[in-house]
Structure formats: structure tokens, C-alpha cells
Amino acid sequence: MTQEDGRRSQLLRGVLDLCLLAVIGEGPVYGYEMTKRLRARGMSIVGEGSIYPLLGRLERDGLVETRREASNGGPPRKYYSLSSTGKQSLETGVEEWKTARDGIDRALDLVKVQVTP
């Protein structure tokens, strides 16, 4: 893993729970569907690690609620939706992320990036 990959991975680890809460906040969704949605938004690095342990932690912490629903011909799937605590956590987390991002932007905007062709 290169230094750049390592940094991306570390950054993602810090906010992946927030991203998952955001996806779940759009409506009930099951595990693999979340992976696909995150990838569709450019978070292909999600493939470096499985989201299941993180989903387990969100469930244990009471940030998500689950229920089983029949799927198209397959076994019932476990659908995740936000709990009221999860909604609050998402809102707080987004605020924290924006504050952190703005600070980092102000620090990094001073750097003149020279792009070589």
C-alpha cells in the first residue's frame, strides 16, 4: 500500500460510519446494497474492508434499527434504518465533518499544487 493509499484509507476509516449512516438515512437498505451505493458515489476504497463489522457496531450502539424483509426470490434480507439516536448522531457527525473539512481546506488551500502533465 502506498503512502497515498494509506492516507485515503485512514481518512475513510474516520468517516465511513458517517457515510453509512447517510446511506441508511435515505431509506431502509441491506448490506451489499450499501456497498454498491457507496461505490457509486466514488468511494471505491470501501472494497478494502468489509462494512459488516461497522454495521454491527452501529447496531450495537443503537444507531440503526433492523428488520427482515423478503427479497426477490432469495432469503429474507436484513434491512437497516436509522434510529432517532442515529439521526442525531448523523447530524452531529456531519457538522463535525464540515468544521474539520473547512479547517483542513483553509490549511491546505495555501499550498500551490503543481500538476505535471
Binding site: Y30, G49, G74, R77
Partner: protein
């Protein structure tokens, strides 16, 4: 895929995850992998790098769900080792270990030198001591007791002493062993690395 799920099941069983929860996780995982494969993908699309380490994946998932014992959970919010074990614990263990070691050593020394005149009652029989008196070493005799010393000294009375010394030695070894076992049974600080 089947091998991966089976490996996870074995790990969950080893960790003591209740069967209903293990079944639920296995069913969810199977359904997701089957969907990925039906779309032309693979298990790696679902599991990422975890696909290559099913046991770690299974342990991390179960730990995150809180269905395994704390020692096997990968919990970054768990208190640090030093918080669970105050500073004086190691000092007590070291003291017990040193005591056990010294006791065992002393008992061993007494066993080897079973004729030590200081510990055994004198035989009431005067024997002349030929040659110079040795102060240090097996069979050494201190001046006040030299009149009691002799080649047959204490042989007939040493059996109870040897038994006692053996018991002390055994006790020392047991204390030492328990101290070492207790120390090694402490859970190591969990790695802060996790599978998200």
C-alpha cells in the same frame, strides 16, 4: 464462497457466538455474496480484503456486535490495559514470584545439603573430627557444633526433614508457577487496528 462461510462459522463457534446469531450473520453474508455473484461480481466485491482472512473478519464482526467475550472483541473504546490493571498489581506479582523462587531455591539447597547441622537436631554422640574444620561447603561444621559432627551424622533423622524440604520446594514451585501463569493470562492490549 462456501469455504469462507464455513470458516466464519467455525470461528464463531470457537468464540462462543450463540447459534441463532451466527446463523443470522451467515445467512446475511451468503445472500449478499450470492447477489454479487449473480451480478457478475465476486465475494471480494462484498468483503474486500477481508475475503482473504475469514477468521479475522468473523471475529471482528462478532466483536463489533458485542456477541463475544470482551477479550475477543475488537473494541477501540475499551479501557486501556493500564486502567484495568493498576500499577501495584505487577509489583505484587513480582514479589510473589521472587518469594516463590527464593523459597524453592532455599528448599533445593537444603535438599542437596541434607546433612546441614543447623537444621537437624544433634545426635548425642561424640565423634572426633579428623583434619581441618571446613567452614563453607557441604558437610561444613561450625565450631560450636563440631563435637557433634561425624560421617554418620543425621542420616537416621533426615527423612522427615527431607519430606519437609520437598514440600517447601513444591510449594515454592507452585507459587512461582501460579505467579507466572497469572501474569501470562493477562489479556494483551488489543490492537487498535480494526476492520472498520
Amino acid at each position: 464462497m462456501t469455504d469462507f462461510i464455513e470458516e466464519c462459522r467455525r470461528e464463531w463457534k470457537r468464540l462462543g457466538v450463540p447459534d441463532p446469531i451466527a446463523n443470522e450473520m451467515a445467512v446475511d453474508l451468503t445472500a449478499d455474496i450470492e447477489e454479487a455473484e449473480a451480478e457478475g461480481g465476486s465475494a471480494e466485491d462484498v468483503l474486500g480484503n477481508s475475503y482473504f482472512d475469514p477468521r479475522r473478519f468473523a471475529a471482528a464482526w462478532a466483536g463489533a456486535r458485542g456477541v463475544t467475550a470482551p477479550a475477543t472483541s475488537v473494541d477501540t473504546f475499551a479501557p486501556l490495559e493500564r486502567d484495568r490493571h493498576p500499577w501495584y498489581r505487577p509489583a505484587i506479582i513480582v514479589a510473589v514470584a521472587v518469594f516463590g523462587f527464593l523459597t524453592a531455591l532455599a528448599a533445593l539447597a537444603l535438599l542437596v545439603d541434607g546433612r546441614s547441622s543447623a537444621m537437624v537436631g544433634p545426635i548425642r554422640r561424640i565423634v572426633s573430627v579428623p583434619g581441618a574444620i571446613r567452614i563453607i561447603g557441604p558437610g561444613s561444621v561450625m565450631p560450636p557444633f563440631r563435637s557433634f559432627a561425624g560421617s554418620s551424622f543425621a542420616v537416621q533423622n533426615s527423612a522427615p526433614f527431607l519430606v519437609l524440604a520437598f514440600v517447601v520446594l513444591l510449594g515454592g514451585v507452585v507459587i512461582l508457577g501460579l505467579a507466572v501463569l497469572y501474569r501470562t493470562s493477562w489479556p494483551r492490549r488489543e490492537s487498535r487496528r480494526r476492520l472498520w
